[in-house]
């Protein structure tokens, strides 16, 4: 299946891009996608403990399942205002 990954703030800078697509085996979970991202962009690993994760704009845990076409977002600690 194919998913879209959106990266914001420090995550975007660590990966060097704001958006990418991943090909993953059927049945993959968010943690599997993160593992692929950290393999391709090792700088992301240092952020991992601080990230919140969203699938299709809803916050999820790393064990959440992914479906074809999902939009996974990596959200560093927020600082609006």
């Amino acid at each position: 299946m194919t998913i879209t990954v959106l990266l914001f703030a420090q995550a975007r800078e660590h990966a060097g891009r704001a958006r990418l697509t991943l090909e993953l085996p059927e049945g993959s979970r968010v943690a599997d996608a993160i593992a692929v991202l950290e393999r391709d962009h090792p700088a992301l690993a240092s952020l991992r403990p601080h990230l919140a994760l969203a699938v299709d704009q809803r916050l999820v845990r790393a064990d959440a399942s992914l479906a074809h076409g999902a939009e996974l977002a990596l959200l560093p600690p927020v600082s609006g205002g």
Binding site: L6, F8, A9, Q10, H50, L51, A52, A54, Q57, R58, L59, V60, R61, A73, L75, P76, P77, V78, S79, G80, G81
Partner: protein, 140 residues
């Protein structure tokens, strides 16, 4: 209706739109960009958002204000992109029959915004370099 904008926040229009015949108070909070942070001189601030999720979160916050406080209206506008120093980056307006709930709701909405809405602030420093402002991890 919450709003994200890359243009200057229209202060006069926001305040005018908050006036209601059933309300005796309008509390308004503007967060403005500041030229220092933790003893460093800041020359530029820039905001980034996960826009559709941030908009839903801001609209949820407006509804939560109405449910939690005795107020009649709440409106939140957040600016994105580069915001020149001393300009508003965020505005919260609350209209209420009485000032107490208006002040309380305005402060609560701003505190919640800072920890629940996917928006990020980056500072550029006078001595060079830049950094993301330390924030709060979003909780589901």
């Amino acid at each position: 209706m919450a709003e994200l904008t890359r243009d200057p926040i229209p202060i006069d229009r926001l305040v005018a739109a908050s006036a209601r015949p059933d309300c005796g108070a309008i509390a308004v909070f503007f967060g403005t960009t500041r030229d220092h942070h933790e003893n460093r001189r800041v020359t530029r601030l820039s905001y980034e958002a996960y826009e559709p999720m941030a908009l839903v979160a801001l609209e949820g916050l407006e509804r939560a204000v109405l449910a939690r406080f005795d107020v009649s209206a709440c409106r939140i506008v957040h600016r994105l992109g580069d915001v020149p120093l001393a300009e508003p980056s965020v505005a919260v307006t609350v209209s209420a029959a009485h000032r107490g709930p208006a002040f309380d709701a305005c402060r609560w909405a701003m505190d919640e915004l800072k920890r629940t809405v996917p928006i990020w602030k980056k500072e550029s420093y006078a001595e060079g370099g830049e950094g993301w402002v330390e924030g709060t991890r979003l909780e589901g």
